[in-house]
């Protein structure tokens, strides 16, 4: 008997492995396609980076030289191929004495900032990741807790209070709530010195500095997301509690506390996981408005600068592809996590 059970478990493991490797393969294909799409789109936009990077005294020769230097004098698919190559092998820009080497993984070279894009990303990423992780944890804890509580105490004053929060939270845009926080709380009560805004404190060496410099940006982001999550959690929990299998649990004599924690929350929160994963990935791509308000030098600001100032194509391509990659990876992680949670997806 035991052997049967074992081989059965093994075949289940095999199926899971097959599923995972298939999903990873698909994700890689999607990433490659996305990067190609980015190149096609930018190729057809009515901007010419070679012209933009040329300055006031421009001659056709200089433009052509710039175009060559930027690697824009070839077809988009050659550019794309070089881009892919650079990720794995590193890449050289310019010739002779002006030769610049960007080591793998190279995402291009920014001629406006005179820096390998990888280096710029390396500076911006910790900021954005810090912002995203903290905000994510904050809104998840806040949103789910409030949602569960208001579902549990449906139609009481607690529930109504949380409804007010949801209404306010969902109707306030980030640039308002962020500015309000910044102006009326942070600056008024000197919670962060305006001079310290945007200074990087490593969580490893200065955890308190890190925490206190990110707390308010987290809060301004988290409030909005939390409101949405409260509403979503509440309706999911309520919907799940009217399922037949919850009635079955009660008929077995399961206590109300266990009905909620064991029987209701797992199926009610599983769909929230999907959305949370994607929202988190979206934030990793850069929270443009929040980063701008709190002057955080993250991916969002990097992108915004690149677009606004000089149409710095390598940076835009890199951040766009990266943002897409985050979403694809998050999708993968979420699906795998969902499969762990829900046996109906695991085995079929």
């Amino acid at each position: 008997m035991r052997r049967i059970v074992q081989s059965f478990e093994e075949s289940k493991g095999m199926a899971m492995l097959k599923y995972v490797s298939r999903r990873i393969a698909i994700s890689i294909i999607i990433l490659v396609l996305i990067s190609a799409t980015v190149f096609i789109i930018f190729n057809y936009l009515p901007f010419d980076p070679a012209r933009l990077s040329c300055g006031k005294h421009c001659t056709p020769e200089i433009i052509a030289g710039n175009r060559h230097r930027l690697g824009l004098d070839v077809n988009w698919w050659v550019q794309w191929w070089r881009f892919l190559e650079g990720i794995f092998a590193g890449r050289n820009y310019g010739e002779g004495a002006a030769l610049i080497h960007c080591g793998a993984p190279a995402f291009g070279y920014s001629f406006t900032q005179h820096e390998c894009v990888t280096t710029l990303l390396g500076q911006a990423l910790p900021v954005t990741v810090s912002l995203a992780i903290g905000a994510f944890i904050m809104w998840l804890v806040l949103g789910v807790t409030l949602g569960v509580i208001s579902a549990r105490f449906r139609n009481t004053w607690i529930d109504r209070l949380s409804t007010v929060f949801v209404l306010v939270g969902t109707s306030l845009p980030t640039f308002i709530s962020g500015l309000l926080l910044l102006l009326f709380i942070v600056l008024k009560f000197n919670l962060i010195s305006p001079l310290d805004l945007g200074t990087w404190h490593s969580p490893l060496t200065d955890p308190w500095g890190w925490f206190s410099s990110y707390f308010w940006p987290w809060l301004s982001l988290a409030l909005i997301y939390a409101a949405t999550y409260t509403r979503f959690t509440r309706s999911n929990v309520i919907e799940t509690s009217s399922e037949d299998f919850i009635r079955t649990a009660r008929a077995k004599g399961v206590s109300e506390r266990k009905v909620l924690w064991k029987h209701t929350l797992r199926p009610a929160l599983a769909p929230i996981l999907t959305i949370a994963g994607l929202d988190f990935a979206g934030l990793l791509g850069g929270a443009i408005i929040t980063e701008q308000i709190f002057q955080l030098p993250g991916l969002g600001r990097l992108t915004l600068q690149a677009v606004l100032q000089d149409y710095d194509l390598p940076i835009i391509v890199a951040t766009t592809t990266l943002a897409a990659a985050f979403v694809v990876i998050a999708n993968l992680v979420v699906d795998l996590a969902y499969a762990l949670l829900d046996p109906r997806i695991r085995i079929s």
Binding site: F245, T248, A249, V254, R344
Partner: protein, 337 residues
Amino acid sequence: MSNLLDVKGLNVTFPTVDGEVRASVDLNFELNRGETLAIVGESGSGKSVSSLAIMGLHNRAQTLISGEVILHGSKGSTELISASEETVRGLRGKEMAMIFQDPMSSLHPYYSIGAQISEAWAIHNDGSKRDGMKRAIQMLDLVEIPSAAKRAHEFPHQFSGGMRQRAMIAMALVNNPSLLIADEPTTALDVTVQAQVLQLLQNMQKEFNMGVILITHDLGVVAEFADRVNVMYAGKIVETAGVEDLYYRSMHPYTIGLLRSIPRVDQIDNHRLDAIKGAPPSLINLPIACSFAPRCEYSSLVPGGLCNQSQPELEQKEAEHFARCFLPAERIAEVRS
């Protein structure tokens, strides 16, 4: 008084914005161990509502329940309506168990069949997880699930419809309850599978000496399985009798109408069916009158339009045979034949 369950004056009412829905009105019945009582009725007749009230499964905040439900369990008698939530919870799944119409949606999709049965056991017993699983496999074996030890680790979606209902039965019986409420247990199943499950239920009833309340709309299933029958209409019991009396000496026009309106597989007929005209009334703000009167063929036989003016009581027509009708037993017997 019976030796298992006494229901006295049970009312279940749902307050709504449109008015009170009196889903079950003044229900009185009793049930002995080893006996099967069928509760027959159409949707909205109150048959499920009253059994959920016995199990204490209504949301107390949204339901008004009055009356008495006394369960004579293995550890003494308890009145369930006034008992604390905690007391009733201790009896649910232990002394009284329930199975439902749709076994797919009634089983938790995230937990294995074995885990769900073992949970039902663990709530009311002390023992390790391993003991619970052992007991679950034993129960699955008892309800004739092939290779139970292996299938206990599978999830509901991997079971067929019939096997899911068997698993539900195993779960309900894991603590050897004295009362089993089966709410349309075979309605969602195919007819050949229905036959298997009904047979299983009958065997289990004998084995555990349970009292069974069988809630169904299927008069065929009742004929096969029940000892006594309550017929419900618009929230009230309109007739109650032993199974043979009910089928062969029906005392309520609704019962007579139902039995006449259904075709049978063993009698080839080509005539028109004797349909009951009209439709059941809405349960909100029911007038004080016989609820069946608007559909009744015989209400004109009652003098003075009584049927539309006052409510008939459930009165004794014959020994052990009650019906909620103004017509005297002899008159009903006349019109029936």
